[in-house]
């Protein structure tokens, strides 16, 4: 599964994307796996209320299932316009 990071999540984790082998059932499970991995992930995901997620480029939620998903993206609230 491809995982993307944008803005300060990208900066804190130190990479824009990576391929992750995971059996996580939901986005929240994936976040827990990542946080357990390394300190920088734990720091980046310390406050998930400040993190948004997209599954295959559609805005989604942390309790969404990952079955069939190819691309997960994490980012802060958007500031376009």
């Amino acid at each position: 599964m491809r995982v993307l990071y944008f803005a300060w999540l990208r900066e804190r984790i130190g990479l824009p994307r990576e391929d992750v082998e995971t059996g996580a059932a939901t986005v929240a499970d994936l976040v827990e796996e990542l946080k357990a991995r390394e300190e920088r992930y734990a720091v980046a995901f310390a406050d998930v209320s400040a993190v948004r997620v997209a599954l295959d480029q559609e805005l989604s939620s942390f309790d969404a299932p990952l079955a069939g998903v190819r691309e997960v993206a994490f980012f802060p609230p958007m500031t376009g316009g």
Binding site: F6, A7, A54, A73, F75, P76, M78, T79, G80, G81
Partner: protein, 145 residues
């Protein structure tokens, strides 16, 4: 039409080209966003985006605006990359037979661009760089649609 691009564009030329392409539109509204300077002096505004999702999101907002209001057309242009103060960031144009539809659709598109399009702004000053925080008022603005 939607466009996501790094290079600049000419808002006046875009407005004229958009207006010329409209049939039966008595009302044309445009919004352009410009990089504002900040206290202490802004060196640059860096705009990061999510290629692929950005285009899909803008097209979805544009299609939704066309569904909700009687429009003859709608255009969204949004830049990414490193911009200097005074540079144009983005533009929305809407055209309709009547002004209420053109205004409402332009405001709708702006509200969605602000809070639902995958762009992230970073302000670079002499003191360093800081990500622009999303504003509660921008999130709240979505509730009116």
């Amino acid at each position: 039409m939607i466009r996501v691009q790094q290079g600049t564009f000419d808002p006046g030329a875009e407005l004229n080209a958009f207006s010329a392409a409209q049939e039966g539109a008595g009302a044309v509204v445009s919004f352009s966003g410009v990089v504002r300077d900040v206290a202490g002096g802004l060196e640059a505004m860096e705009i990061e985006h999510y290629p692929g999702m950005t285009e899909a999101a803008l097209e979805e907002f544009r299609a939704e605006a066309v569904r909700r209001w009687s429009l003859s057309g709608a255009l969204v242009i949004h830049r990414h990359g490193r911009l200097a103060p005074g540079e144009v960031i983005m533009m929305v144009c809407t055209a309709a037979p009547h002004r209420a539809d053109a205004f409402a659709a332009a405001e709708f598109l702006m509200d969605y661009l602000k809070s639902r399009a995958p762009f992230w702004k970073k302000e670079v000053t002499a003191e360093g760089a800081a990500w622009v925080a999303a504003k509660d008022e921008d999130e709240d603005a979505l509730s009116r649609w």
